[in-house]
C-alpha cells in the first residue's frame, strides 16, 4: 500500500521559502502569482492491506516525526 503525506505550514506561519520562491517567480516575469507556499510531500510504501490500520499508523508517524505540529499541518491519502 502507498501513503501520500502532505505537510504544509499552518496558516499564519511565515514561509520564508515560499516567499523567496514567489519573489524569484516575479523576478522571472511571472506577475500573475499572488502567493506561494512551500510544503513537503512524503510518499511511503507500506506493508499490509488494511487501510484503516495503515491510516492510523501513518497518522502516528506524522504526529511523532513527519510533521512539527507547532508550525505544520498534515494530510494523509492512501492509494
Amino acid at each position: 500500500m502507498k501513503a501520500r503525506v502532505h505537510v504544509t505550514l499552518k496558516n499564519g506561519v511565515l514561509d520564508p521559502q515560499g516567499k523567496a520562491v514567489h519573489h524569484a517567480l516575479q523576478g522571472l516575469g511571472f506577475d500573475g502569482v499572488n502567493d506561494v507556499r512551500q510544503g513537503k510531500f512524503i510518499e511511503l510504501e507500506l506493508d499490509g492491506t488494511d487501510a484503516a490500520k495503515a491510516e492510523a499508523e501513518v497518522k502516528e508517524m506524522c504526529e511523532k516525526l513527519l510533521a512539527n505540529t507547532v508550525i505544520e499541518d498534515y494530510s494523509i491519502e492512501l492509494a
Partner: protein, 229 residues
C-alpha cells in the same frame, strides 16, 4: 563541576563545545551517544551544533526522537542546566523543551559570520556574568535560524523575560536591519519557563580564545559554572 555533551550522528561542533566546557569547568565533559538511554550525573548538559541526521526532514527533528532525549527531558524537568546551541537549539525545540521552531533563514542562505547580540536578561544562570543591555560579539553559522513562534507565545516569552539574546548591530540597535535571519522580534536565544534550558543560534563556543578573534563567549560558560557552584 561535571558536564556532558550529547552526540547525535551528524553533529559536528562537539569538539568546539567540549573545548569551551573544559575551559570553563576545568574538566573534560563526558560525551554521551544518542543511542544511550541514561545520562551520567552532571551539572551541565550541552547539545552542540552540527547537522544531526543531515538536517534532513527538519533540522533537529530526528535527533529529538533519539533514545537519549528522554533522559535529557527528565534532567530538564529536574532543573539541570541544559544549553542547546544552533542544531542543539533546533533539537530542543523539536523535543518540546523550548517553544517555537527554527525555520530556513529569510535569505535562504547559510550564514557564517560574527554578529552582535544584545543581552536582554542578565539574571539567568546563562548570563549572570553579563549586564543586561550588554552587547556581545559571537559568530553564527546556520541555515535555519529563523525563530518562529505565534504572537501569543512571543508576548509571553518577552513578558516573562525569557528572551535572552537578540540580534543587534555594533551599537546595540535591535531593528529589522540588524535581524540577521528573519527571526521574529530579532530573537537569537530563549529560555524555558523554569529558566534552566537555554537554546540559542549563535556560537559562544567559537568565541573563547583570542585566536578566535574575540572572547565574548567565555562569560556565557562562566555563568553556567557560577550558577551551578
Amino acid at each position: 563541576m561535571k558536564s556532558a555533551v550529547i552526540l547525535f550522528p551528524g553533529i559536528n561542533r562537539e569538539n568546539d563545545a567540549i573545548a569551551a566546557l573544559e575551559q570553563a569547568t576545568g574538566t573534560k565533559p563526558v560525551v554521551v551517544w544518542h543511542g544511550e538511554t541514561e545520562l551520567p550525573k552532571t551539572d551541565i548538559i550541552m547539545v552542540p551544533g552540527g547537522f544531526s541526521y543531515g538536517d534532513y526532514l527538519r533540522c533537529g527533528a530526528m535527533a529529538a526522537k533519539s533514545p537519549i532525549m528522554r533522559a535529557v527531558a527528565e534532567r530538564a524537568k529536574a532543573g539541570v542546566t541544559i544549553l542547546g546551541v544552533c542544531n542543539g537549539f533546533q533539537i530542543l525545540t523539536e523535543a518540546g523543551l523550548l517553544p517555537g521552531a527554527l525555520m530556513r533563514n529569510a535569505s535562504l542562505k547559510f550564514i557564517c559570520k560574527n554578529t552582535h547580540l544584545k543581552i536582554e536578561n542578565a539574571d539567568t544562570r546563562f548570563t549572570n556574568q553579563y549586564k543586561a543591555g550588554d552587547f556581545v560579539d559571537y559568530p553564527v553559522a546556520h541555515h535555519d535560524g529563523n525563530f518562529f513562534a505565534d504572537s501569543e507565545t512571543l508576548d509571553r516569552l518577552e513578558g516573562e523575560g525569557r528572551v535572552i539574546l537578540r540580534y543587534c548591530d555594533a551599537n546595540g540597535v535591535v531593528d529589522p536591519a540588524t535581524n540577521l535571519n528573519g527571526s521574529q522580534r530579532n530573537i537569537a536565544g530563549i529560555i524555558n519557563e523554569a529558566g534552566n534550558v537555554l537554546g540559542m543560534m549563535p556560537h559562544p563556543e567559537n568565541a573563547i580564545d583570542p585566536l578566535h578573534g574575540g572572547t565574548d563567549g567565555r562569560n556565557l560558560f562562566k555563568s553556567l559554572v557560577e550558577a551551578a557552584s
